[in-house]
């Protein structure tokens, strides 16, 4: 029995090590590939710097929009038993299973100049196709579900009776949300926002269809790879990877304290 246990443990360790190597290996290899000189050159490359700046700004705008529209929805999904709640929750999760080029085509049809909404937006000066608006739309489509999902779980972890107590102590519904629920769910919401931002930064599939130019970082890397080969793409890829690693560390720091949920 003991021998079978230890054999199984050995197999488990081997399989686990293979997967960790498969995930970490390429990333480490990429980081090694870039020399400090080529990295320094990358940071002085005006096209790459502009592209990264564009990526950061559009991802930030998409994240703010995700928070503005997604947090109220997450709160309703967590707290209010309205008819069709499961359907709404399912719709918001849909982008997770839709292939991203398909999302790009769907957005093009829905927000392009040929659609009524697209015409209204264009008349209002908000062009979606081949513009910054298209980049934000693509990012918002793929990243909003992350904000909604993380915020909903964060709100669910806050006991509704805390809000009720706050109401009997004189708070309005908004006051109880602002003073009690949001501070307690804040870390979860923020972690969702950071992940959503990271997802926006890495988006390629829908943006390449909506807005090839101006180029966000992921499209610039792809463009350089197809035009000039691997050596031209590596420094830009490393810069993007470093950005992703910083965000990853942030998420780890912001991960909700599970003991809070456990205690209740």
């Amino acid at each position: 029995m003991i021998e079978r246990h230890s054999r199984w443990s050995l197999v488990a360790w081997l399989l686990a090590a293979l997967l960790v190597l498969f995930v970490a290996g390429p990333l480490v290899r990429l980081l090694i590939q870039a020399s400090p000189a080529s990295l320094g050159q990358a940071f002085r490359d005006p096209e790459l710097v502009a592209s990264i700046w564009l990526t950061v700004v559009t991802a930030s705008v998409a994240t703010l929009l995700s928070l503005l529209l997604g947090v109220p929805l997450a709160y309703l999904l967590a707290r209010v038993p309205f008819p069709g709640r499961r359907i709404v929750a399912g719709i918001v999760e849909l982008p997770v299973v839709v292939p991203h080029p398909v999302a790009g085509i769907a957005l093009l049809l829905f927000l392009g100049r040929q659609s009524p909404i697209g015409r209204v937006l264009a008349d209002a000066g908000l062009e979606i196709v081949n513009s910054v608006g298209g980049i934000v739309a693509g990012m918002l489509f793929v990243s909003a579900p992350i904000v909604v999902s993380a915020s909903r779980e964060a709100f669910r972890a806050v006991d509704p009776k805390l809000e009720r107590v706050a109401r009997t102590l004189g708070d309005t519904a908004w006051g109880a949300f602002r003073r009690v629920t949001l501070p307690l769910a804040g870390r979860g919401v923020l972690a969702g926002a950071v992940l959503s931002w990271a997802r926006s930064v890495s988006e390629f599939g829908s943006i390449v269809i909506l807005t090839f130019n101006p180029k966000v970082a992921s499209i610039l890397i792809y463009d350089r790879f197809t035009l000039f080969g691997l050596p031209a793409a590596v420094p830009a890829a490393v810069v993007l990877l470093l950005m992703a690693l910083v965000v990853f560390l942030l998420v780890q720091l912001l991960a909700p304290d599970r003991t809070v949920g456990d205690r209740r």
Binding site: T168, L169, G170
Partner: protein
């Protein structure tokens, strides 16, 4: 004053139906009922957290049925306290104080902290507080905005017996000192006996009986109430009039039969009935009792003796029917009762409550 008039609430599959109840100004009302009977829902309806399907709620004489919780001026303490985990004890207590000026706010917090023995804890977080401490903080927080109504959801259920006794005393003192009309829900009738001016027994979303704790305890109106609040042994049987002549010496003299047991009772009606025999009304002796003998003298066998600090509960078997008598420990020691001992159990006909 708290007044509920035919209040009905539906929450999922559960309903509160036609609940009417009144706690006078400055009074202490208790709603007692088993788990799932709708006690917390009733309090939440009074606080405005759940919408009424029917009926109305009057607080201080005003109809507040459609008012938001924040305008009802009620304090609410949940069973599990629900202190704000991101605030200190001081911030928790001061949360609802809207009086202008930090000075008056601090003064009110200190006043309540002193009253409830919380001063050393004021600057601590709420994590790590004992159950009794958390309960006191929750009470102080609810009382801080000077509500005229206080709603307590099983405030003594989650603490140890010693803390429960201390908190029960504090609740009564606080109630007298602050003069807040209080409605408490509990599943423990002892809370009702010690705290309540008015008690209502809730069963399956309806009020089964209400009145003073003493009257509900002595005269339960249904076998459920008698059994739930522990009035005594409930026997199902039939009442037969002793004499059909209303001009007889004892016009209400009757006999109650339950299996092989036959008891003299006082009854105005005949037919199926429940007899409630209170433990304190049953006398236990080894032979004949001194003084005038009660009408009902039953040969019995002791099956169990439970000694308490002041009262001993003696379980006896009377022709296959189990009864419980409560006697003083001094009497129990004097009688030296052991399981299997033959005894005589006596009860006055007037002490048997028929339902």
């Amino acid at each position: 004053m708290i007044r509920l008039e035919d209040v009905s609430v539906t929450l999922g599959n559960f309903s509160l139906r036609d609940v009417s109840l009144e706690v006078p100004p400055g009074g202490y009302g208790l709603v007692i009922g088993p788990t799932g009977s709708g006690k917390t829902t009733l309090l939440e309806a009074v606080a405005g957290h759940v919408a009424l399907r029917n009926g109305r709620i009057l607080l201080r004489g005003e109809d507040v049925s459609r008012e938001a919780p924040e305008t009802r001026r009620v304090g609410f303490v949940y069973q599990h306290y629900h202190l704000f985990p991101h605030f200190s004890v001081r911030e928790n207590i001061g949360y609802g104080i809207r009086e202008p000026g930090a000075g008056s706010r601090d003064q009110r917090v200190l006043e309540l902290a002193e009253m409830l023995g919380l001063v050393p804890l004021l600057d601590r977080g709420v994590e790590g507080l004992s159950g009794g401490e958390q309960q006191r903080v929750a009470l102080a927080r609810a009382l801080a905005p000077r509500p005229s109504i206080l709603l307590l959801d099983e405030p003594l259920a989650a603490v140890d017996p010693a803390t429960r006794r201390a908190l029960r005393r504090e609740l009564r003192l606080l109630h007298e000192r602050e003069g807040v009309t209080t409605l408490q829900v509990t599943h423990d009738f002892e809370d009702a006996m010690r705290l309540g001016d008015v008690v209502a027994v809730l069963a399956g979303g309806r009020i089964a009986q209400s009145g003073s704790p003493e009257s509900v305890f002595r005269f339960p109106n249904s076998p459920f109430v008698a059994e739930f609040i522990g009035t005594g042994t409930v026997l199902r049987g039939v009442v037969e009039r002793a004499s059909p002549d209303p001009a007889a010496e004892k016009p209400f003299g009757a006999r109650f039969r339950s299996g092989t047991l036959e008891l003299e009772v006082v009854a105005e009606r005949e037919g199926e009935a429940y007899a409630v025999l209170r433990p304190a009304d049953l006398l236990v002796s080894r032979g004949s009792l001194p003084g005038p003998a009660p009408r009902n003298r039953l040969a019995a066998t002791v099956t169990r003796v439970e000694h308490g600090s002041a009262v001993a509960h003696v379980s006896v078997d009377v022709s296959g029917i189990g009864l419980v008598a409560a006697i003083t420990t001094a009497t129990a020691e004097e009688l030296a009762l052991r399981p299997g001992d033959p005894v005589v159990v006596s009860i006055k006909a007037t002490a048997i409550h028929l339902i």
